[in-house]
Symmetry: D2
Subunit: 349 residues, 4 copies
Amino acid sequence: MKALVYHGPNQKAWDDVPKPTILADTDAIVRVDAVTICGTDLHILKGDVPAVTDGRILGHEAVGTVDEVGSGVKNLKPGDKVLVSCITACGSCRFCREGRYGQCLGGGGWILGHKIDGTQAEYVRVPFADNSTYPAPAGVADEDLLMLADILPTGYEIGVLNGGIRPGDVVAVVGAGPIGLSAIMGARLFSPSHIIAIDKADTRLEAAKQFGADITINNSREDALAVVHSLTDGLGADVAIEAVGVPATFELAAELIRPGGHVANIGVHGEPATLHLETMWIKDVTITTGLVDTYSTPTLLKLISNGQIAAGQFITHHYGLHDFIEAYDVFSRAGETGALKVVLTRQTN
Amino acid sequence: MKALVYHGPNQKAWDDVPKPTILADTDAIVRVDAVTICGTDLHILKGDVPAVTDGRILGHEAVGTVDEVGSGVKNLKPGDKVLVSCITACGSCRFCREGRYGQCLGGGGWILGHKIDGTQAEYVRVPFADNSTYPAPAGVADEDLLMLADILPTGYEIGVLNGGIRPGDVVAVVGAGPIGLSAIMGARLFSPSHIIAIDKADTRLEAAKQFGADITINNSREDALAVVHSLTDGLGADVAIEAVGVPATFELAAELIRPGGHVANIGVHGEPATLHLETMWIKDVTITTGLVDTYSTPTLLKLISNGQIAAGQFITHHYGLHDFIEAYDVFSRAGETGALKVVLTRQTN
Amino acid sequence: MKALVYHGPNQKAWDDVPKPTILADTDAIVRVDAVTICGTDLHILKGDVPAVTDGRILGHEAVGTVDEVGSGVKNLKPGDKVLVSCITACGSCRFCREGRYGQCLGGGGWILGHKIDGTQAEYVRVPFADNSTYPAPAGVADEDLLMLADILPTGYEIGVLNGGIRPGDVVAVVGAGPIGLSAIMGARLFSPSHIIAIDKADTRLEAAKQFGADITINNSREDALAVVHSLTDGLGADVAIEAVGVPATFELAAELIRPGGHVANIGVHGEPATLHLETMWIKDVTITTGLVDTYSTPTLLKLISNGQIAAGQFITHHYGLHDFIEAYDVFSRAGETGALKVVLTRQTN
Amino acid sequence: MKALVYHGPNQKAWDDVPKPTILADTDAIVRVDAVTICGTDLHILKGDVPAVTDGRILGHEAVGTVDEVGSGVKNLKPGDKVLVSCITACGSCRFCREGRYGQCLGGGGWILGHKIDGTQAEYVRVPFADNSTYPAPAGVADEDLLMLADILPTGYEIGVLNGGIRPGDVVAVVGAGPIGLSAIMGARLFSPSHIIAIDKADTRLEAAKQFGADITINNSREDALAVVHSLTDGLGADVAIEAVGVPATFELAAELIRPGGHVANIGVHGEPATLHLETMWIKDVTITTGLVDTYSTPTLLKLISNGQIAAGQFITHHYGLHDFIEAYDVFSRAGETGALKVVLTRQTN
């Protein structure tokens, strides 16, 4: 079969590789019908994730059709349409029993396209298939459903739920790339009074408005703290969500928060940030970090089925499965191309 | 009357000053029967708290007897024995309505011995007296009750409750000075399986054992991370409490935590710490900070009345009210004197 | 001045009575600009609330203008436009410190139009005025703001928040009178997937659709349990809200709930209900009851200012303040007149 | 092998039956080393649980040694010493993913000794063995560990955690049989100020004192409400736990509760109770019910290993495995024999 294979920093190819086979009795083999590229895949390609080695098939998001199941798979059968989640869960370890699947100690967690071959291929082997896939609800397009593989639960769990957004809140989202937009989309479910998007790119701020931000701040030329204080009697935001992953954006999120507020970090960081405890020790602040667990996927499936989240809004570019090289190119130049999520689908003719 | 007056950095005196009078109708004047010195008072004396100016009477902890009340005081009358809390609460602002009295926007918060004259005197004026004092329960010694003015609610709210300690937890307390000991005493109420005290002074670690720590680590010569990992299958502590207030201890607390764990900062910090987001972004960590609110005082009053917390255990030195200069001397040399809390009481001859 | 006075069961009159005066220094006298009638007032008129005695001015909801304040009132001054809440709070007792103002032990709670004279008058004395009124936000009509005196916080706190509604939930509201409609309006803030209104009157079910119910069941002719089960794979509703106050509706709400679900009782009951523990002991059900505390009023003020709740939707009839007898007549025949909330406003000629 | 077999109401026998075999690949066969009898088994024997039919081996609690595992069992191997939990969990259904294993929709829940053959036998087949057993910790006697199969998690989850017990609380436990004692033992982990045991039998009240109740009320001759009110300024208990399962005890628990309090029902009920909504609607009460989920078993394992709960305190009678008829006789006459838990262990000669 064909797959997008990593060959070391800045090297990838659409290669011929063997079709995966069942290795453990809880595995399923899934034919990939729709797949996307994550910002994390770009990090891998730069060589930033040393656990990913030459020969690895990338990708951790897919919607597909079950092709084959191991003898220990209870709830899936060939022909079932499923969402393949970015998080694989053994289902039995301490953390899986708490719904903290991202921290699975039994061989799961984020492994697809990282420690084992991933979804950017014609077929993918999914371990612990009962706990790592979800039946596709009727009436939802593959492309829309695909947004539940990673980006929507990440924004919802690590941004919105960790942040504890409540009706009437003022929410600041630092970074209006795809993950920030996901947090904005999720935040609206809890009826905050204001969602403030902060970014240095006007195009991303335009997108933020489309996703539901009612206030935008270009912090290359505007003073985010002043705007937030003017809205909040000088107190600060109830919830600030970091959605970039560099020290400056975390530090800005921390600065924007009111006494008693929450800073929810979503960004993937490569270096330490400065925590201004000399001002924050007294402020009753809560800071959270996290890798998505996908415990919210059942809820998000209900919301997407019911038309309450418009997941398709993320999708800016459509490709056939064999156009992976071009799709990567467009996605990696998001600043120019305006790409949010690019989707590649199996040609069915 | 006599009072301990701040006269600029490193200057204090036991001066004759005017007895305070009612300034607002919600004020009470309280005769001080027992009073103590806080580590924060030592910071003030070093000049670290610029809001405290020459002429200020220090102190924010007292047990006393109501001498006079303003016309707007509803629940106190002269002769009542009361606990004077370190936190003053207007009772009506946004934060007071949430029980977040430490952040009071209506003129309260930490003001005694800071923005207004404090308790290290024969009499003290207590604003918003209905919301800032508590009736002394029968059968509790003044000295013991005094420990509820600041140190016990601080350890309990900002360490134990913010940390979310649960039965069976492994709790690491970084710093075994008075505030760390308070957190240890409070932690035991929730039946953790292990309380690990970490400090560089063996004398403080001895005290920690007396207060309920079952494991002690002298991190001037032992590897705290290795000990914690050996107890927790390599995962880390469920809750880590920072009780010092310098970058190194915060960073150690953050390093000791397991995925999904809580870091509760109690320490008063003067400079920023480094937050290792490059390892913590993925760990599902919650970090909290806070100034005590004293919302837990009613609970602690029940526990002390019922003999469930042995508050007297903090008190190492006893003085008469006029011995303030000596008491400060002994308290400021805690390393030599072994002082935890020093208590000064009115001579009743 | 004029006031609506209760004269024993089924007796009321628009009487000349003395204008109220300041009795305690924390009182305010408020000129009533807009006032409404509550279902509870009808219960009082039937003689169901024996604490209300002959001569009592009824009413516990108003928007008005401060006329005079006692010397102990800190945050109000004559001329301020305020919301007068149905709940009066001493601010200092155990329950007020927890935000449980409805249970105030210091002389507050529901007292207006119950234990002391109420708001259906040209002027009303409001005890503990700092804690029992809220400044009117700019740009909100008196009539709309009036809905925050009782009905909106009751539905939101006792129905929506006690029920713990979450995005994606199936919520059943038993009873589509004003309080059920308030619960429906509040529920939408948390993005449930379905809000099912259940009533025996088609006109009320029509109103429920206007307020946001997407499914309506007339349980005089439809099987509510069957409909709820068909929507929920036979499990039942996530949250069921009782909004009537008779045994049959409570028992229906309890029957509709899924394992692990919440039954939130809002209704004012006059007799016991049957709790089917023989089936419910095993179902992991949570049942809550409550009198409104109005702790959510600050949140609701933000939402109404921001246009996120359309409070005016409740108001079906408008009268001058002197038309109380007619307003009561129309409100008491809601089945015929379609009255939800009737509002009486001061003539400003 | 030998097993205790139900043969219809009031009929049981220690029969020769076939040794169980693996039926599904996730099954394990466990040799029973220690087993006990539950009050529920007595209900079954009276014919109160129609789902249990002639020929069923009873029992849902055991400690044993793995004899054989199916090919899909990942975490167990022959020779492992395990706790067999009363709750079986498929691990993949909606409720198992929430840790609500008692409500498992995938074929688990309470099935042992109920819908399939149970543990009162020389061997037992345990479905979904990875999720339904726990490795025995080192240094804990089989008999003590056995108390974690049902009685301890039931009292802890459904009584203590559902009730939300906090330090300083006044807790009333209605019923001082084994399950009430379990709730008392669990309650102490949260440091309530008073645990009040209420029962009609003085011998059970004596046991309650041994388990940690500091106040006992024999409500055949004392007025429980008066005692509770005298301890609580007339307000009522913070938490009331029902541990019997008849209407009168539930109604007493509900009567004892303070405004804002919690009633946690543990009892297995056979008929409806009366819910006095005419007084409770206004009281801000929370009532919970539930079947144990055993999500707390990992916590309880830590506590028992660490010596923080003295599980052996329940065990009043010891038998060999073949003495089941006598053990049932003694357990069923607990009033005379003083039996709390009777344990039967495999003879190892």
